[in-house]
C-alpha cells in the first residue's frame, strides 16, 4: 500500500470538555479531491485545523504526507497550502504585494520567485488586478487571491475550509474547475463544504456529524447507502439516524 496523503487514527479534539472531533478515521489518497460534508459545528473546521498544525490533537494521530502532525507540525507546513474560512489576505496590501509577501515567507527568492509569481498569476487569471487593494476585491476574486497565496510554494496538499462561502455561483464553478485542474496535476485537495452541488464534484466524500464520520465513499456510493436517493436526501437521513 502506498503512503496516503492524509491518514488519521482515532483523531480526537476536545475543547473544555466539549468534543469537537471524536475518533475520526480518515484516509485520503494522493491526487484525490476529498470533500468533507457536514452541518455547522460537525467538526469540519477543527479537523482541517488539526491537519494543518493549527490545533493540537487531544488524542489519536494524524499523518499528513507521512508526517505526524503532533510530532513535527513545522515540517508539514512547507508541503501544505491552506485557505481558512475567513480568507487571510492583507486587505491593505495590493494583490501583487500579497503574493510577493507570501512568496517571500515561503522562501522563494529572485528568479524562482518571479517565475512562480508569473505562473500563479496566469493560472488564476489575476493579471488585471495586481495593483488593486485586496480589500476592494469582490468575494470571488478575494478567494482566488487567497488560493494563489496558498499555492505559491507548490504544495502537495491543499486544505480548503469552506472556500466558496460568500462567492457567487459563476465564481464557484470556476473555482471548482481550478481545484480539478490542480488535482489532475497531482495535488491532493481536502475541501469542506455544506453545499450539495459542491459535494457532488468531489471524487470521494466524508459526511460528518457530531464530530465523527457517518458515511464515506464516492457521492454515488454514499447516496446508495440509503437506497439511491439524492445526496441531499442521503445526508438528511444519515444525519437524523446519527442523532437518534
Amino acid at each position: 500500500m502506498t503512503q496516503a496523503a492524509v491518514e488519521t487514527h482515532d483523531l480526537t479534539r476536545r475543547f473544555d470538555g466539549l468534543t469537537a472531533v471524536a475518533k475520526l478515521n480518515l484516509r485520503i489518497e494522493r491526487g484525490e479531491v476529498f470533500g468533507l460534508l457536514g452541518p455547522n459545528g460537525s467538526g469540519k473546521t477543527t479537523t482541517i485545523r488539526m491537519l494543518c498544525g493549527l490545533l493540537e490533537p487531544s488524542d489519536g494521530a494524524a499523518l499528513v504526507a507521512g508526517i505526524d502532525v503532533a510530532v513535527a507540525p513545522e515540517q508539514i507546513k512547507q508541503r501544505i497550502g491552506y485557505m481558512a474560512q475567513k480568507v487571510g489576505v492583507y486587505e491593505d496590501l495590493t494583490v501583487s504585494e500579497n503574493l510577493d509577501f507570501y512568496a517571500g515567507i515561503y522562501g522563494l527568492r529572485r528568479t524562482a520567485k518571479r517565475s512562480r509569481l508569473q505562473e500563479v498569476v496566469t493560472f488564476l487569471d489575476l493579471g488585471d488586478r495586481l495593483q488593486q487593494l485586496a480589500g476592494q476585491l469582490s468575494g470571488g476574486w478575494k478567494q482566488r487571491l487567497a488560493l494563489a497565496c496558498a499555492l505559491i510554494h507548490r504544495p502537495d496538499l491543499l486544505f480548503l475550509d469552506e472556500p466558496t462561502a460568500g462567492v457567487d455561483p459563476a465564481a464557484r464553478r470556476r473555482f471548482w474547475q481550478t481545484i480539478h485542474d490542480l488535482a489532475s496535476a497531482g495535488t491532493t485537495a481536502l475541501v469542506s463544504t455544506h453545499y450539495m452541488d459542491e459535494a457532488e464534484r468531489c471524487g470521494r466524500l466524508g459526511m460528518m456529524s457530531r464530530g465523527h464520520l457517518i458515511a464515506v465513499g464516492t457521492p454515488g456510493e454514499v447516496a446508495a447507502q440509503v437506497g439511491g436517493h439524492t445526496l441531499e436526501d442521503a445526508f438528511v437521513i444519515l444525519q437524523e439516524r446519527d442523532e437518534q
Binding site: 493549527l54 490545533l55 493540537e56
Partner: protein, 369 residues
C-alpha cells in the same frame, strides 16, 4: 414606558463582567491613580540625597551640617574628601545636592564676619532643586538670627550661596524635554506593537501565517524591527525641536544617547509584543498599554521627583524601564556625563529588553489555542 431599559441594562452588566480585562482596568485605573497621585505627588521634596564636603572639620561645621539635616529636606549620604568626589557623586546621581563648608568657616564666624557656605543642587530636576534652594536659604536665615541674638549687631553672620548645577537658569524645558523623549517613546512603541499581533489575529491573517514555515522568532522580530526606525525618528524630532525651539542644551555624547535609546526602544517594543500575547482584541491591547504607561509616567520621575515619593512608590518605580532611561537622557543631555556614570542604568535597560523579548517569544504559540 422604559420597559426595554432593563434588558439593555442587564446585558451591559453581563458583558462588562465577561470582559475580564476591561473590568480589571475599570477597577485598577482609579485605584492606581489614587495611590500614585495621593502618595507620589509631593512637590515639597524631602530626603534629597546630599554629600558633604567639610573642609574645616570643626564642631561649628558639624553643627551647621546638622542644621541642614534637621530641615528634613536633606539626607546626608556621604562625607567626601574633595571636589572630584563631590563632582562624581552629582554626575552619577548618587547625590542631588552637596554642602560645602569652607576652611575659613569657623574663623569668619568667630571674627563676626559673614561666613559663607556653598550649596550645590542638581538642577536637572527643578522641583527637587527648588525645594533644596528654599531649604538652604531657610537654614542660613535661622542660624543667622540665632547667632545675631547672641552677638548683637554687625554683619550678617551666615550666608549660603546656592549654585544650581547642570541647569543654572532652572529652566523647566531643560527638565521636561529630555523626559519627553522617554515618555513619547514608551507611549508609541508599546501601543504600536501591542496592537501588531492582535490586529493580525482579529483579521484572520495570523491563522494564515501560522500555517507557513515562518518561525515565531522571525515573525516577532520582523514585526518590531520597522518600528525601531520610527522610534529613532521620533526621538530625533523631539531633540531638534527641543534644541532649536526650547533651547535645551545637548551637552553630552549624542552617539551614546542614540545607542542607549536604541536599547530602550527595543525594550519598549518587546513589552508591547508581550502585551499582544496576553490580549485577544485591539481594544484590550490599548487598555493594557495605558495600564503600563501610567506607572511609567508617574513613578519614573518624569513628572515628580522620585525622592519626594514614599518608599513604596520609589520601590515600584524601580520596575519601570522609564526610570532608568530618564536618568540616562538627563544625564547625557544636561550633565554631559557618559557611560562611566550611567553604565548601571544601561545594563538594567539591556536586561529589560532581553527578558521581555524572551518572555514574549516563549509566550507566543504557533497554534490557535
Amino acid at each position: 414606558m422604559m420597559s426595554r431599559f432593563w434588558p439593555m441594562f442587564r446585558k451591559e452588566f453581563i458583558q462588562m463582567r465577561r470582559d475580564r480585562l476591561t473590568f480589571a482596568m475599570m477597577v485598577g485605573i482609579p485605584v492606581m491613580q489614587l495611590l500614585v497621585f495621593g502618595y507620589a505627588i509631593q512637590t515639597d521634596v524631602r530626603n534629597l540625597p546630599t554629600v558633604v564636603l567639610d573642609q574645616s572639620r570643626t564642631p561649628e561645621s558639624r553643627d551647621v551640617v546638622q542644621a541642614f539635616q534637621n530641615t528634613g529636606n536633606f539626607r546626608m549620604v556621604a562625607w567626601v574628601d574633595g571636589w572630584p568626589a563631590l563632582d562624581r557623586a552629582l554626575a552619577r546621581g548618587d547625590a542631588q545636592a552637596a554642602i560645602v563648608v569652607p576652611y575659613e568657616y569657623p574663623r569668619e564666624l568667630a571674627r563676626g564676619r559673614t561666613a559663607t557656605l556653598q550649596v550645590i543642587v542638581d538642577a536637572s530636576d527643578p522641583l527637587a532643586s527648588q525645594s533644596a534652594i528654599a531649604a538652604a536659604g531657610a537654614v542660613a536665615m535661622v542660624r543667622s538670627l540665632t547667632i545675631l541674638s547672641r552677638t548683637e549687631g554687625g554683619a550678617t553672620p551666615l550666608d549660603t550661596r546656592v549654585r544650581p548645577r547642570y541647569n543654572p537658569g532652572l529652566r523647566s524645558p531643560n527638565y521636561i524635554v529630555p523626559g519627553l523623549v522617554g515618555v513619547i517613546l514608551t507611549m508609541t512603541m508599546v501601543i504600536i506593537t501591542a496592537m501588531a499581533i492582535v490586529r493580525e489575529r482579529e483579521r484572520g491573517t495570523l491563522e494564515q501565517l501560522i500555517v507557513t514555515p515562518i518561525t515565531k522568532t522571525e515573525l516577532m522580530l520582523g514585526k518590531i524591527a520597522p518600528y525601531v526606525g520610527v522610534g529613532l525618528l521620533q526621538m530625533t524630532a523631539v531633540l531638534i525641536l527641543g534644541r532649536y525651539v526650547f533651547d535645551v542644551p545637548i551637552t553630552g555624547n549624542i552617539v551614546l544617547l542614540y545607542a542607549v535609546s536604541l536599547i530602550f526602544i527595543v525594550a519598549s517594543l518587546a513589552f508591547g509584543l508581550f502585551i499582544s500575547t496576553l490580549v485577544r482584541t485591539q481594544q484590550q491591547a490599548i487598555q493594557a498599554s495605558f495600564g503600563f504607561m501610567l506607572p511609567n509616567i508617574l513613578l519614573s520621575g518624569f513628572m515628580f521627583p522620585r525622592q519626594a515619593m514614599p518608599e513604596i512608590a520609589q520601590w515600584l518605580g524601580l520596575f519601570v524601564p522609564l526610570t532608568y532611561f530618564l536618568k540616562v537622557v538627563r544625564g547625557i543631555l544636561l550633565k554631559g556625563v557618559g557611560l562611566e556614570a550611567l553604565w548601571e542604568e544601561v545594563l538594567i535597560l539591556v536586561a529589560f529588553a532581553v527578558v521581555l523579548i524572551v518572555a514574549s517569544v516563549r509566550r507566543f504559540r504557533k497554534t490557535l489555542d
